[in-house]
Amino acid sequence: MLAMGLSLQYGVCRVLNITHGEFVMLGAVLTYLLSSGLGLNPLLAPVILGPLLFGLGFLLQATLFKALKARAPSLAAFEGNALLAAFGVLYILEYVARISFGSTLMPSYYLNVRVSVAGMDFILNQFVAFGIALALGVVVYLFLNHSRMGKAIRATAEDPGTAGLMGVNTNMILPFSFGLGALLAAVAGTLISTKTAVSTGLGFSNTVIALIVVVLGGLGSVPGGFVAGIMIGIVSQLVAGLWEPILTVPIYYAMLMLLLLVRPTGILGKK
């Protein structure tokens, strides 16, 4: 779920968006603010936040990255510059959030109700989060594969030049997919805020996880990201349960390193 948005942004726009975690953070923190300030149900927060962050992502691609692309001599140069610019944006977003919301924001537990299913105790919010993530994954998959817009997005990812000649408005598609990625990040943020405490500093660790998942799945491959995401989730539970929770990130990285050596394009990536 985290990774899908990032994968979309890289696949279509060729921007390795390391600000992704910051969008997650904004989603989580704003959800907390909305629900504690206005008494809104946190699950309704994406209705307001989604369009907001979608707009932010849309604008970023439509202005900054588009300008960068126009200036860069080659695709490789553009990817490098975009990564660096994204790092700048990461700082802007994180510290705007820190300055305006403080950095010690912490508590927020919702739907913290235990339910018994088949003799086992579960916390309700985990069910809800899992259900929504799964549903959204399916929706995005269907959208990309079967809707007109989704086909246009995939065509642009494949070959922007030809897609443009075929009548796809690439100037519209690129910001749209970037915004869609931001929207997915925001919803992920909302779900995180219903499960655990949040703060304005949580962006970066989420970026790292999303990045690892995306590279594992193959840069730019949405289903690959989905598979890798599930894999990472299982591994993290195994490592945290059987070994030490601190070691989960090093283990991710070890997996990443191995995979890059054996199959540099990821599990389902294309050459």
Partner: protein
């Protein structure tokens, strides 16, 4: 008097004179400056080494390494763990050698990776180092973070002057050698360079390791300046990205470009970051985006552009002059 012609004919002389002035300035600096400023300048020199070291490898080959923090942090930790056991000069040598070997291994492993994958790998490497050091530290030593005995700032300053000069000198020498041309070839078109008989792998890995050695040395010297080191400080991605932006701000077309960028951003960083942490970082983000957008060739990239424009204007003036004379005769 034609200034542009004066500059172009005596270019070497002027440059040499300027370099000597800079060296005299650096050599006498601790004598007349305040102790605080000596520390600031020593930190700026550390950034100079990081930025020039980064540009040494990535500037020409086009491989974007996000690993400076890994080597820098390795140097810091070498100092933190060996400070009681070994004399300082030896630790410096070990820090450099450690980073060199580590980079050699990383380089050999990451050979196959191209473009973005290399950047992602090195990005992950820094995060990995942070986590694994923290784990090992708490596991084996039972604490998080290491205090470091301060060393006389003046000594550190002179060491840094030496290291910075060496870094820039090596970059310059590499640039004007066959080896530098090979690197430019890799940056331009790696496959073509390989077919021309360039040992691309060897050149890449070796340069990567040399630049890492300088970063490791900078880390060893940085540790006593910062007094306290932990895994989040030593392997902060900030130390990976800041040198990159310094190099880009200064311009990577020349050996001295990164130095200019490092002096500007490094000074701002050491003076403002501690006091105005949040606002500084916000401003840092904004400046980064602006640099990438409007100054991708850096400050030194501006010079030829301005020269072009100025030269054009002058030529036009002179031409106009001549035409007028023609008209008169």
């Amino acid at each position: 008097m034609d200034i542009t012609r004066l500059v172009s004919t005596h270019r070497k002389l002027l440059l040499g004179g300027f370099l000597i002035l800079v060296l005299i300035f650096l050599a006498t600096f601790p004598i007349w400056a305040r102790a605080y400023d000596v520390r600031v300048l020593a930190l700026v020199l550390i950034y100079v080494v990081l930025a020039a070291g980064w540009a040494m490898f990535s500037g020409t080959t086009g491989y974007m390494s996000l690993a400076p923090a890994a080597f820098f942090g390795l140097g810091m930790y070498a100092m933190a763990l060996l400070q009681y056991e070994l004399p300082f000069p030896l630790v410096i040598a070990i820090g450099g050698a450690l980073s060199f070997v580590f980079a050699l291994l990383i380089g050999l492993v990451t050979l196959r990776l191209k473009g973005m994958y290399f950047a992602v790998f090195t990005f992950g490497l820094v995060v990995f180092m942070t986590e694994i050091t923290q784990y090992l530290e708490t596991r084996l030593l039972g604490k998080h973070g290491q205090a470091i005995i301060p060393i006389d700032n003046q000594t550190l300053f002179y060491i840094m002057v030496g290291v910075a000069v060496a870094t820039v000198l090596v970059t310059y020498l590499i640039r004007r050698s066959r080896w530098g041309l090979a690197m430019l070839g890799i940056g331009g078109n790696e496959e073509a360079a390989e077919h021309m008989g360039v040992n691309t792998t060897g050149v890449k890995v070796f340069t990567f390791a040399i630049s890492a050695a300088f970063m490791g040395v900078a880390g060893v010297v940085a540790a006593p300046l910062l007094i306290y080191v932990n895994s989040n400080i030593a392997f902060s991605l900030y130390y990976s990205f800041l040198p990159i932006f310094m190099a880009i701000l200064g311009g990577m077309g020349t050996a001295y470009g990164p130095v200019i960028g490092a002096v500007i951003l490094g000074y701002l960083d050491t003076r403002l970051r501690a006091q105005l942490f949040n606002y500084f970082n916000l401003g840092f983000g904004i400046i980064m985006v602006l640099i990438i957008l409007f100054l991708p060739k850096g400050i030194t990239g501006l010079v030829p552009m301005l020269q072009d424009k100025l030269g054009g204007a002058m030529r036009r003036l002179r031409k106009g002059d001549r035409e007028e004379r023609h008209a008169n005769t």
